[in-house]
Subunit: 228 residues, 2 copies
DNA sequence: GAAGGGGAAATACAGTGTATCGACATGATG
DNA sequence: CATCATGTCGATACACTGTATTTCCCCTTC
């Protein structure tokens, strides 16, 4: 019996771990959004059967949790600046940039408590930045308020970005010329304040808007820190 | 040929409109969350075939948009108080309470631009509250900042609420005693600031936390309004 | 060599959003 | 009154989803 007659030994299944799985899922989501992530496609990308993933996660939600924590690794700053304000500001901006790299993050942000190692690490360094500056309670309140702000702001920014992309219109064009529905509504005169805002408002770019809102919130935090 | 032999005339299809459809969808979502909303189930609740809905909406996303706008009708205040600060605060609290009544709103909040009639009406009254107090640009920035805050805060609150419900543990219990994963992580000593926050922090109820964060942001807005 | 165990894969199921198509009640027209 | 066009509704179909269950086969251990 020659070599040719003997069948090749069966290919061992490719080794798997959460890291690989999450990487595949993130890649899929980066390319086609969250809805492009299906267990079948993730598994296929790893040359594995779908059910194999259930050894590493027990539900699709858990895969999302892992994906979010993976991105928190990008958000975690390598070294902390001394100033608490810089630290918090950096956290906000890093989160925003991460969401711009992985737009699907906006869909998940704030959706579930972040209990993964990187999420906890981010929480740690954030709270640590306020250590000694404020008592525990005001510190927590500050972090919560700030993160509520940038979570919401990021979500809105991504939402607008998608809307512009979908209609093919820049925000300015959309407001001024085309955007049939909104234009028609504004023309009814039932929304004078809104109309004024839309037509008289100077359009600032998203980053600047994010930054000024952030500054306001940081100002508020600063005011509470100094006065216990 | 008697009456009994003749078949009854065919039952006319039940009349339908967006209002009925949205009401059915909202009811479904209130009972079982957003994932309980399927076009088939919505249609079934209206004694109609699934495909019939496509005369009124062209995609499931649009149904969600209509649902959100429906809730904005609850958020819209009946009469506006004079003070801008009261007005903005009321908007935030009304949105929060709406989300507590319809928890699925948290999943949709900030996810897409709100262009429905009620959403626009809310935007209108909100901007109107700042009319004369601030120039257009700072007014918009104020509204955006504030709504980013409460959007994020509401999402987190609902997320925590669900997590507590799922584990059957109150936040306090979860942090202190059981919650194996978090407890173990904190015990490693790698998260000292976080551990201090968890163990030394006094737990305030969600509404109070929401309100203080809101006050901070409103303070910040007030500071920017007075000083142009 | 035989038996057992464990993990991967195949199959199965109930459900999803949406496209397509056939039938049929209705209103217009002869 | 008969016929035809029209438009709408429902049935069917399709590709896909998350997940439970079953089947199978390789490796280890006697």
């Amino acid at each position: 019996m020659t070599v040719w007659d003997r069948p090749e030994p069966p290919t061992r299944p490719v080794p798997l771990d959460r890291e690989r799985i999450v990487a595949a899922a993130v890649a899929l989501a980066d390319e086609g959004g969250l809805e492009a992530v299906s267990l079948r496609k993730v598994a296929a990308r790893l040359n594995a059967g779908p059910m194999r993933l259930y050894g590493y996660i027990s539900t699709k939600q858990e895969l999302f949790d892992l994906m979010v924590d993976e991105v928190y690794a990008e958000i975690l700053p390598e070294e902390q600046p001394g100033d608490w304000r810089e630290a918090l500001s950096a956290l906000a901006h890093r989160t925003r940039r991460a969401a711009l790299r992985h737009e699907w993050l906006a869909d998940l942000l704030g959706g579930r408590p972040t209990l993964g190692p990187n999420g906890l690490a981010v929480a740690e360094t954030t709270l640590a930045a306020l250590d000694g500056i404020a008592d525990v309670d005001t510190g927590m309140r500050a972090v919560e308020t700030l993160s509520a702000y940038f979570t919401g702001a990021i979500r809105r920014e991504i939402a607008n970005l998608r809307a512009e992309r979908a209609t093919g219109l820049s925000k300015r064009d959309w407001q001024h010329a085309s955007g049939p529905h909104v234009t028609r509504m504004l023309a009814t005169g039932r929304f004078p304040a809104l109309a004024k805002a839309v037509y008289d408002g100077t359009d600032v770019d998203a980053e600047a808007s994010f930054a000024t809102g952030l500054d306001w919130v940081l100002d508020a935090v600063a005011a509470k820190l100094t006065r216990p």
